[in-house]
């Protein structure tokens, strides 16, 4: 199969915002993929458990490059990755990975590496034995060479002969990645790979994913942290409540997220005076002063943060504090869904 590097299937402008009514299927595909056989394709995929819908009518296709699967906890990210790994049967639609259906096709695992979210590993095995287990079950010819390379790649050579049960959370994540990479798969699926990693390990993992993508691999990882996603992924799929809320270039999605109406609480030496100057600024569309609390609403976060200190200074007010009131990721996602 072909794994030649290709341009990301999405251009910077190919942002596809969600629509309140179900859009035509084709409208929500991230963009044409030059070599669909090499990648991942979901066609109107749903998965439900009884009355609970975990994944709701999702379509997209992915080619080589790093893609982030972003969404709050419980949004259906794991379900989606399990569908792609052939661990779940889609209730409707079709999941195609590496040119074939993902369900009931064990052969696909020759081309796919999967890193599960659960920390569980065979705790009685050493790191080396765990990676060797994966290599042998992949039927590799040069098991020892592949194991050494994979362990080197995640920088665990020093700890490879310790039982995995004694590893830290971050080390376990890395040995899991080594196990998933040992057969050099062109497609790599990772469920919350940065969980439990310290900043240095996180950086190392991000570099590794970037390198994998540069080699022409399809890399898809899930995360509920926007900053993680934007540091590595050029493309983002945003999943909220089982639906594809947005997909496309991360910068466009980032802008969509930062340009939503923001509310800030401001504390200053003279809230009333500050309020009167702030309301005149074009980036600010509402100012509220109640119970001695000044709340400012703006749709342009960057402009507001640039303007507010100048405005305060020119009117002789001392600014004490500027706190966003709804910065939780959930509210960001909720906003994306409402759009």
């Amino acid at each position: 199969m072909s794994t030649t590097p290709e341009a990301p299937s999405t251009t910077t402008s190919a942002l596809t915002p969600p629509s309140p009514t179900p859009a035509p299927k084709a409208g929500r595909i991230v963009g044409p993929v030059a070599a669909p056989n090499a990648g991942i394709e979901l066609r109107s995929v749903s998965r439900w458990y009884g009355n609970v819908v975990a994944v709701n009518d999702i379509s997209f296709s992915l080619g080589p490059g790093v893609t982030g699967l972003l969404g709050p906890n419980g949004a259906g990210k794991s379900t989606l990755l399990h569908l792609m790994s052939g661990f779940l049967r889609p209730s409707a639609g079709e999941v195609r990975v590496a040119g074939g259906s993902a369900w009931r096709r064990p052969e696909q695992h020759r081309l796919v590496g999967f890193v599960p979210e659960r920390e569980a590993v065979y705790s009685f095995l050493t790191g080396f034995e765990f990676v060797r287990f994966n290599a042998r079950l992949q039927g590799l010819a040069d098991v020892n060479g592949a194991v050494a390379r994979a362990i080197e790649m995640v920088d665990l050579a020093d700890a490879q002969h310790r039982p995995v049960g004694t590893y830290s959370k971050g080390m376990r994540q890395r040995i899991k990645v080594a196990g998933a990479l040992v057969h050099d798969p062109p497609i790599l699926l990772l469920d919350e790979p940065f969980n439990g990693m310290d900043p240095r390990q996180r950086l190392g993992m991000m570099e590794l994913l970037g390198r994998m993508a540069d080699e022409g691999r399809v890399v898809l990882f899930s995360s509920h942290i926007l900053e993680e996603v934007e540091q590595v992924a050029r493309r983002v799929l945003v999943i909220v409540a089982g639906r594809l809320a947005a997909s496309g270039d991360y910068r466009a999605i980032r802008k969509l997220m930062t340009d939503r109406p923001h509310a800030f609480t401001v504390r200053s030496s003279d809230d009333r005076r500050l309020a009167t100057v702030l309301i005149e600024h074009p980036a600010i569309f509402a100012v509220e002063l109640s119970d001695g609390l000044l709340t400012v609403r703006s749709s342009d976060f960057a402009a507001l943060s640039r303007a507010i200190s100048g405005l305060a200074r020119s009117s002789g007010v001392t600014l004490f504090e500027l706190i966003p009131t709804d910065e939780s990721l959930d509210s960001v996602f909720a906003y994306l869904v409402q759009r």
């Binding site: 458990y49 794991s78 399990h82 064990p106 999967f114 659960r118 569980a120 065979y122 287990f133």
Partner: protein
């Protein structure tokens, strides 16, 4: 490839606390036999030894110890992977599911044969006080237990892929079906693994029938093989469509 799966499964099964409990249970008939030898009641008389052995074999080993050991190993072969969350690593491999099932079945059956078989062998040897005079009956019991272990294990491996409560379902099967119904309703003797085990033990025990009224050897082996084949096919089918339990 399969050897690796066998090795890791064996380590996973043997490292569990439940295995230790089974080990203690397997010591029970051996201790009973020791007590029997130390008491001077019918010591030395072949008849007395055989009566004791037959009672322990029928009432404890075949009815309780063997099915419980097979239940434990059979359900844990896949169950331990599901519980520990390691089944993803097993399923994310380009291996035909029938090979995975056979590897798991192999480990569970061998573990059951070793544990139940050695408990039987030691119990019998101690009870008869030496191999020479009663080697036939000892061989019969051990072979019967080994065959029973394979049949029971295959059923419990399949069961663990059918329900997530395989341990409870298996216990109900062992106690209600095998222990009560098949014992008191002669008509369903043909559908009892316990009866296959006794039938095989009886036929192999060359020096005279020691168990009264057992299934014919042909029937026991034929039906036993049919159960193993069917259970294995079911297990392969179930694993092919196995869905990993979701956490959210």
């Amino acid at each position: 490839m399969i050897a690796e799966m066998v090795r890791v499964t064996a380590r996973q099964l043997l490292g569990r606390r439940r295995t230790l409990i089974m080990l203690l249970l397997a010591l029970a008939p051996i201790l009973l036999a020791l007590l029997f030898r130390l008491s001077d009641a019918p010591a030395g008389s072949i008849r007395g030894d055989r009566d004791f052995l037959r009672a322990v074999f029928d009432a404890f080993i075949v009815t309780l110890l063997l099915p419980l050991i097979a239940l434990l190993f059979g359900t844990a072969a896949f169950g331990a992977e599901v519980e520990d969350g390691t089944i993803v690593y097993l399923l994310a491999k380009p291996i035909p599911r029938w090979r995975t099932v056979l590897a798991k079945l192999f480990v569970a059956a061998v573990a059951s044969i070793v544990l139940a078989g050695s408990a039987t062998l030691l119990t019998a040897l101690i009870a008869v006080g030496g191999v020479a005079q009663s080697s036939g009956i000892v061989t019969g019991f051990v072979v019967g237990v080994a065959a029973g272990a394979v049949i029971y294990t295959s059923v419990f491996v399949a069961l663990s892929l059918i329900t997530s409560r395989a341990l409870i379902a298996g216990l109900v099967f062992v106690v209600l079906w095998e222990g009560v119904l098949a014992n008191f309703l002669p008509g369903i003797r043909f559908l009892s693994i316990r009866q296959y085990t006794l039938g095989i033990a009886d036929a192999v025990g060359v020096d005279g029938r020691v168990m009264a009224d057992t299934l014919d050897i042909g029937l026991a082996v034929g039906l036993g093989s049919a159960v193993v084949s069917l259970a294995t096919l079911v297990a392969i089918r179930r694993l092919g469509g196995f869905e990993i339990p979701q956490e959210d």
